[in-house]
């Protein structure tokens, strides 16, 4: 499940964000405890805790004392906004660069998209 490309706690945080975006984790819903998470993914609980702490810092999760961690009510909309802002820079930009490298014109891309959505 985890790769070498980034620290595991970052991958944990990203995985939870994706689950919130897809709706697999509901707003105000409880997420697994760090121990459950550690046991499930076979990782040190401190690593899991670090991923969760980052999400609390970012306002994606919040803590209920003595109960556990929950998804912030507006987390989904906030994450969507962030991802939408980065979409052109992170996804479309590299695609256009690759297109330029191999001589695919913007026109061709446009045609392809028109075809794909028709």
């Amino acid at each position: 499940m985890f790769d070498e490309r980034s620290p595991i706690y970052v991958q944990i945080a990203d995985g939870i964000k994706n689950d919130i975006l897809s709706g697999a984790l509901e707003e105000d819903g409880q997420v697994m405890s760090t121990n459950q998470y550690a046991a499930f993914y076979r990782i040190n609980p401190a690593t899991a805790a670090k991923g969760f702490a980052q999400l609390v810092d970012e306002g994606v999760l919040y803590k209920k004392r003595g109960i556990g961690m929950f998804v912030t009510p507006d987390a989904r909309a906030k994450l969507r906004d962030e991802r939408r802002k980065r979409f052109f820079a992170d996804v479309v930009g590299p695609m256009l660069e690759e297109a330029a490298r191999i001589g695919v014109s913007v026109d061709e891309i446009r045609k392809h998209l028109d075809g794909a959505t028709r």
Binding site: E4, I43, N44
Partner: protein, 296 residues
């Protein structure tokens, strides 16, 4: 109470050989540490002093603020498992387990029974009749079921097949989650167990090379690949752990993570960056080309 471990300027000698050479480190309580080092790097000697199996030749070790040597209170709560197993060879498995159950105040008989079965150990068999993998299995049973506040496991997986090792890692983590304690696990098989370590401690030639959060350590290795000249320009002034070339293409392994700005600069120079696996990073750091001081 889970003890704090403090090692100061520790030296261990065997005749003319210095196994541990002025090693200083502090280990916070309640964590799983991975102790990594090549054969002969001093891992077993270090653990032997922590377990009070032998005395330091120089420097000091404090567990919970006191010297563990011949300290009954500390020793009752310390377990050390190494490849020699240190149990009577003529005893049957059942007798060994019963003896430890009486010796260890927090012995978990249920866990011992489950693990004994998981590792395919026959209680009626004599220790001398066990296979290498079964001996290791018995070591793991003693190490985990003792549930000691300080648990020292020295390459306890020898001879275990992949399935048995996987059982060992799973049981170790589950029992740690339920009963947090300080566990130091020495190993060569870093890749398959690294995710369990909160911190890695790497020693080489009796000296400390790295003590760091596993995730932080993992991020320190970067492989830079591209035209030889561009690679050399980019890596100049950095800690290069290794180089290899294929035709005009060179790959240099760097120690120390790159910032966003540096990553952009590498990309502009036509270089590709890739992470270095934790096992490779360890091999590079202890391959003898670099003095431990070089990466500090």
């Amino acid at each position: 109470m889970i003890p704090m471990i403090s090692v100061r300027d520790l030296t261990v000698r065997y005749g003319a050989t210095t196994a541990v050479d002025g090693l200083t480190m502090e280990l916070a309580p309640g964590r799983i540490y991975g102790l990594l080092g090549r054969n002969g790097s001093g891992k077993t000697s270090l653990l032997s002093v922590l377990a009070a199996y032998r005395r330091a030749d120089g420097g000091s070790v404090e567990i919970d603020g006191v010297d563990p040597f011949e300290n009954a209170r500390i020793m009752r709560d310390t377990v050390f498992v190494r490849d020699t197993l240190d149990v009577p060879e003529g005893d049957r498995v059942g007798k060994v387990l019963d003896f430890h159950a009486r010796l260890r105040p927090r012995w978990d008989a249920g866990l011992a029974e489950r693990l004994t079965e998981a590792f395919g150990l026959d209680r009626r068999k004599r220790v001398s009749a066990l296979s290498r993998g079964q001996r290791s299995g018995l070591g793991v049973v003693l190490g985990l079921a003792s549930r000691a506040s300080l648990t020292l496991l020295d390459e306890v997986y020898l001879g275990m097949d992949a399935a048995a090792r996987s059982t060992f890692y799973r049981e170790l983590l589950d029992d740690y989650l339920a009963h947090p304690r300080t566990i130091i696990l020495s190993t060569h098989l870093i890749q398959e167990v690294a995710d369990l370590f909160e911190e890695v401690v790497i020693i080489d030639r009796g000296r400390l090379v790295v003590q760091e959060e596993t995730d932080t350590f993992r991020a320190r290795g970067v492989a830079v690949t591209g035209p030889a000249e561009a690679v050399e320009t980019f890596v100049s002034g950095r800690t290069v752990l290794g180089r290899q070339s294929l035709g005009g293409v060179r790959q240099a392994t760097l120690y120390g993570g790159l910032g966003d700005e540096e990553e952009r600069r590498a990309e502009q120079a036509g270089l590709s960056l890739a992470p270095v696996g934790i096992q490779d990073l360890f091999v590079h750091l202890t391959s003898g080309e670099h003095t431990p001081e070089a990466v500090r």
